[in-house]
Structures are given as structure tokens and as C-alpha cells.
């Protein structure tokens, strides 16, 4: 396709007619299964009256679902940011029995279907479950509350920070650390001043990826939560409820809000990675 000589007689269709087979299949597939569905959502959204869009998007129930979805997903992302950093540190820097097993099981949330995750989490964190039973006397209930949403989101976003930090930590030169150490820096100073800065882009990327995944999550949350508006109803569940009521406009507006947030997070991830490359490339 690259060897054909371009000439003035060729029209815009020339590259399409003479593209290689992998190109054609790629574009056909993307058009059918990705561009067309996205176009359907966006074009449906823009046919709605702007005042109507605003009314649906800022409806009290919708606002409460954003609150539950985004704040809880952010909390899960941050908790896994700290935990993931420690897990990555322990897996890379230490040797202990069961290390390989732990390293392999980190990916469980990617391999275990979310329906199974929601089912088992809701059982063990219910008031008469293995773990929920311990918390019951303290008045802490997890299943069928917003804490349940948090637990499910922690589960599904767990691997991201571990897997973004691990390779960076492996490549980190031990020399700078030893220099700081030998010049009398304390353990904590060495960690904060020497080790943490180059890891930060990876940690933030992992947190953003985990947040993004948690925001879109449906399967595990719908099972562990009570799905009650203003309490633990998340935006994806609201979309399904709107569809079940044949409220296509309602579903479309909330779906578009979620899509725009996902794209914004994707942009943030790319910016963090670009900055990380510039400083620590």
C-alpha cells in the first residue's frame, strides 16, 4: 500500500481502497463495535433540549448517585493507593514465604467475575457473615450499606496501584537510597525524599485507573449494596433503573455524564504519565 505512487488523479477514497487487510479489518471492527455505539449515545444526548438535560443531570436522585459513586470510588482509589504502595514495596524489596502466591493472587479481581465477587463479599460482610459478624456488635454494617459499596470498589480496584508501582520500584536504583542512607538520612527521610518522588507518577496513575474502574463498576456493587436512592445507589445502577422504566432520555443523560467523567480521568492519566516521563524518563 505504501509503494503505490500518489498522483493528482486519485481521490480521497484511494487510501481506503488500497489499505492493507489488517487496516481494513481494524477500521471496520472499530466502526461497527466502538464508534457506532459511542455515536448513538452522543447523538441521542445532543437531540435533547439543554434545559431538559440540565434538569435530568441535576435531579436530586441523580446528584445523590454521583455523590455515592464518585466519592466512594475516590475513597477506594486512595485506600488502594496507600495499600498498593505497601504491597508493591513488600513484593519487590522483601523475601518471605508465600511471596509468589501473594504476587499471583493480586490479579484475582481481574480474573474473578464481578458477580462472584459481589456475591461472596456480601455474604462474608453481612451481619451474620465471617467478617461482618465481628463488626455487628460495634454497630458497623457493611453489606447493604454504602460501606458495602466501598468494600466492593476496594476489591475491584486493588490490583491497579500494585501493578503500576511494581515495575518502577524494580527499576529504581538502590544507589541514591544508599547515598542518602550513608549521609545520615533516617529511614523515613530516605523514603520520603528519595524513594517516593519517582514512584508518585505510578501511584497516581494507579489511583486514577482504580478510580475509573470503580466509577464504572456495576456487577459487584449491585449485589452487595441495597441500591436505595440517597443511601447506596450508584450511577450505573440508576442507568439500568431508568432503562427499565423506558426513560431513555434519563438513561442517556446519566450515561453521558459517566462517559465524560471517564474521558476526563483518561486525560488526567495521560497527563500524569507524560509528566512522569519528563521528570524521571
Amino acid at each position: 500500500m505504501t509503494s503505490s505512487q500518489p498522483s493528482s488523479s486519485q481521490g480521497w477514497w484511494h487510501p481506503i481502497l488500497h489499505a492493507s487487510w489488517p487496516w481494513r479489518v481494524t477500521w471496520l471492527y472499530l466502526t461497527l463495535f466502538l464508534f457506532l455505539p459511542i455515536a448513538a449515545l452522543i447523538l441521542k444526548a445532543v437531540t435533547l433540549d439543554p434545559a431538559e438535560i440540565w434538569r435530568i443531570a441535576t435531579d436530586p436522585v441523580a446528584l445523590s448517585t454521583y455523590n455515592v459513586t464518585f466519592v466512594t470510588a475516590l475513597a477506594a482509589g486512595v485506600i488502594n493507593g496507600f495499600a498498593g504502595l505497601i504491597i508493591a514495596w513488600v513484593l519487590v524489596r522483601y523475601e518471605f514465604p508465600g511471596q509468589r502466591f501473594l504476587d499471583a493472587i493480586i490479579d484475582l479481581p481481574f480474573a474473578l467475575p464481578t458477580a462472584v465477587a459481589g456475591l461472596t463479599l456480601s455474604t462474608i460482610y453481612s451481619t451474620n457473615g465471617w467478617l461482618g459478624g465481628f463488626l455487628e456488635p460495634f454497630g458497623i454494617r457493611i453489606s447493604f450499606t454504602r460501606l458495602g459499596v466501598l468494600v466492593a470498589m476496594i476489591f475491584i480496584s486493588l490490583p491497579f496501584v500494585v501493578r503500576t508501582v511494581q515495575p518502577v520500584l524494580q527499576d529504581l536504583e538502590a544507589e541514591a537510597e544508599e547515598a542518602a542512607w550513608s549521609m545520615g538520612a533516617s529511614r523515613w527521610q530516605t523514603f520520603r525524599r528519595v524513594i517516593l518522588p519517582p514512584l508518585m507518577p505510578a501511584v497516581l496513575t494507579g489511583v486514577a485507573m482504580g478510580f475509573s474502574r470503580a466509577v464504572g463498576e456495576y456487577g459487584s456493587v449491585v449485589i452487595i449494596a441495597g441500591n436505595i436512592p440517597f443511601q447506596d445507589l450508584i450511577a450505573p445502577v440508576l442507568i439500568i433503573q431508568r432503562l427499565e422504566q423506558f426513560d431513555y432520555a434519563g438513561a442517556t443523560v446519566i450515561g453521558t455524564v459517566l462517559l465524560l467523567i471517564s474521558l476526563a480521568v483518561l486525560l488526567v492519566i495521560n497527563l500524569i504519565q507524560a509528566r512522569g516521563r519528563r521528570f524521571y524518563g
Binding site: 492493507s20 487487510w21 489488517p22 487496516w23 479489518v25 481494524t26 471492527y29 463495535f33 466502538l34 455505539p37 448513538a40 449515545l41 441521542k44 505497601i86 513484593l91 519487590v92 524489596r93 522483601y94 518471605f96 501473594l102 504476587d103 499471583a104 493480586i106 490479579d107 484475582l108 481481574f110 480474573a111 474473578l112 467475575p113 464481578t114 458477580a115 462472584v116 456475591l119 461472596t120 463479599l121 465471617w130 476496594i154 476489591f155 486493588l158 501493578r163 524494580q170 538502590a174 544508599e178 542512607w181 475509573s212 464504572g216 456495576y218 456487577g219 449491585v222 450505573p236 442507568i239 439500568i240 432503562l243 431513555y248 438513561a251 442517556t252 450515561g255 471517564s262 480521568v265 483518561l266
Partner: protein, 292 residues
């Protein structure tokens, strides 16, 4: 994981000077204990619970679900949807990787981001998009109605939803492998008179086979377990458009705990097989860890 030995020796070398100073490393074991505790609460106990609950009812409980018609239909539908989705995504993934590898053109990184896009979009929103396209009030609704074709609340919708959410898996594994393999061998084969097909089968495919397999395993696991996108488009008609994850939810809601956990056991076994294969490929074929 190929470089796990490297990082272990690196860690040992890096810490050799300071570890001799103290006998028992409190810091290390405290952190290790934290990691075990955290992973136990979030991953291990929930995973073990699936097996414990499933076998609680004994063999009769398992057999009762395994022989129920609704359960068997759910297994069949999940198997069919996966059997259509995974090969289609494989063809797409290979084509996209071949089109992008070792080439430089404006918009290349944008195209890679576009291929990765389905991982950023909520599966429920993906399902909604398909309803807006093919539902009876969607773009193609009247056309499909006239032709008597059903996509939403039927197998084609379930397959399209699954394709959407698993689209990037193979391309993102094969692309880096192709870049690493370079183009020299392919060029040599072409010079020696091999046709493009021969070059693909004899030279390109063998060089990327482990990465392809890795992508296939991840794609398969997600396809069998997809819930959100399928829940929107399937209509959840028991015995007809109910996949295994939907069966689990329905059984759970109807207090059929044994049924829910028996289906969960099947999918948990799939997860264990996925993790083991993934681990073996990472260790023995030198494929870097990859999420999703």
C-alpha cells in the same frame, strides 16, 4: 515475572549493607503482616468463602443446581457468547497490532488510545449505547423490526456487549510483542519468496504466540464473567438470555444461595485456571505483568 529473580537479587544487594545492623527486621515483618492481613480481608477470605459456601450443601446441593435446566441454559449461553466473542476479538486484535506495529504515522498513539477506550467506559454505559442503537426505539430499531431481527434481549446483543468490553485485550498484548520481534525476519522471509500469508503463519505468529495466548486468557476470563454490559442488553429472560453472572444475581436475589454459589464455584474455578496460566506465562515466557 521473568525478572523476579533479578529484582530479588537487586533487593538483596540493595539491602545488604543495612540489614546486617539489626537482628530481627521489625519494619519488614510489620509490613509483610499488614499485606497478608489486607489481602486476606479483601481477596483471600472472599475467595475461600466461594468454595466453602458451594460445598456446604454437600454433593446433593451441587448436583441439584448442576442438573437444573436454567443453570444449564445459562452455562450454554455463556459458552456460546464467549465462543463467538473471543475468536472475533482475536482477529481484530491481530489485525490492529499488525497495522500499528513498527510503523510511524501521525495519530498512531491516538489510535492506540482509541483501541484502549472500552476499558475506560463503564460496561453499563456500553450496554446503554447498544440499546440506543438496536433497541426498539433505537436508530436501527424500526429497520430490525421490519426484518424480524432481534438484537437487544437476544444473543447478538449479548455478543456485541461482550465484544465491546473485551475489545482491547488481544491488541494490547500482541502489539508490544510485535514491536519487540522487529521486522527483520519478516523481511527476510518476504525476500526469500514467502507470500504474506506464509510469512504470517511461519514467522510472525510463532514470534508472538505466548503474548497472543496471554491476551486470549484474559479476554476469555472477562468474556465469561461480564456482567454490567450484558445485564443491560440481555433482558435477563430466565432460561433464554440469562448468562452465568446473571444467573448468580437472580439466584442470590431469590435467596437460592446454593444455586448462586454453585454457579459462582464454576466461575471461581475459571478464575483459578486463569491466574495459574497467567502466572506460568509470566514466569516462563517472560511476559510482563498486565492488568485488566
Amino acid at each position: 515475572m521473568a525478572d523476579s529473580s533479578v529484582n530479588q537479587s537487586m533487593a538483596a544487594a540493595g539491602s545488604g549493607t543495612r540489614r546486617t545492623t539489626s537482628g530481627f527486621q521489625w519494619g519488614k515483618w510489620l509490613l509483610v503482616a499488614f499485606v497478608f492481613g489486607y489481602l486476606a480481608l479483601v481477596l483471600l477470605i472472599p475467595a475461600l468463602n466461594v468454595f466453602a459456601q458451594a460445598i456446604k450443601g454437600g454433593l446433593p446441593g451441587l448436583i441439584e443446581t448442576f442438573t437444573s435446566q436454567f443453570f444449564l441454559n445459562a452455562v450454554k449461553l455463556t459458552a456460546i457468547a464467549t465462543a463467538i466473542t473471543v475468536p472475533l476479538n482475536t482477529v481484530f486484535g491481530l489485525c490492529a497490532a499488525l497495522a500499528l506495529a513498527n510503523k510511524n504515522f501521525p495519530g498512531r498513539s491516538l489510535l492506540i488510545s482509541i483501541i484502549d477506550l472500552p476499558f475506560s467506559i463503564s460496561p453499563v454505559v456500553a450496554g446503554l449505547m447498544l440499546v440506543l442503537l438496536f433497541g426498539n426505539r433505537g436508530w436501527f430499531g424500526p429497520l430490525l423490526d421490519a426484518g424480524g431481527i432481534k438484537i437487544i434481549f437476544a444473543l447478538p446483543g449479548i455478543v456485541m456487549a461482550t465484544i465491546f468490553v473485551t475489545m482491547p485485550f488481544i491488541a494490547r498484548e500482541v502489539l508490544p510483542a510485535l514491536e519487540e520481534a522487529g521486522t527483520q525476519q519478516e523481511e527476510a522471509a518476504a525476500t526469500l519468496g514467502a507470500s504474506p500469508w506464509q510469512t504470517f503463519w511461519r514467522v510472525t505468529l510463532p514470534s508472538i504466540k505466548w503474548s497472543l495466548l496471554y491476551g486470549l486468557i484474559l479476554c476469555n476470563a472477562r468474556a465469561m464473567g461480564e456482567f454490567g454490559a450484558v445485564a443491560v442488553v440481555s433482558g435477563n429472560i430466565v432460561g433464554k438470555t440469562q448468562t452465568l453472572p446473571l444467573f448468580i444475581e437472580e439466584a442470590h436475589v431469590q435467596y437460592n444461595t446454593q444455586g448462586a454459589y454453585t454457579a459462582a464455584l464454576l466461575l471461581a474455578c475459571l478464575a483459578v485456571v486463569t491466574l495459574v496460566l497467567k502466572y506460568l506465562l509470566e514466569r516462563n515466557a517472560g511476559i510482563p505483568h498486565r492488568g485488566h
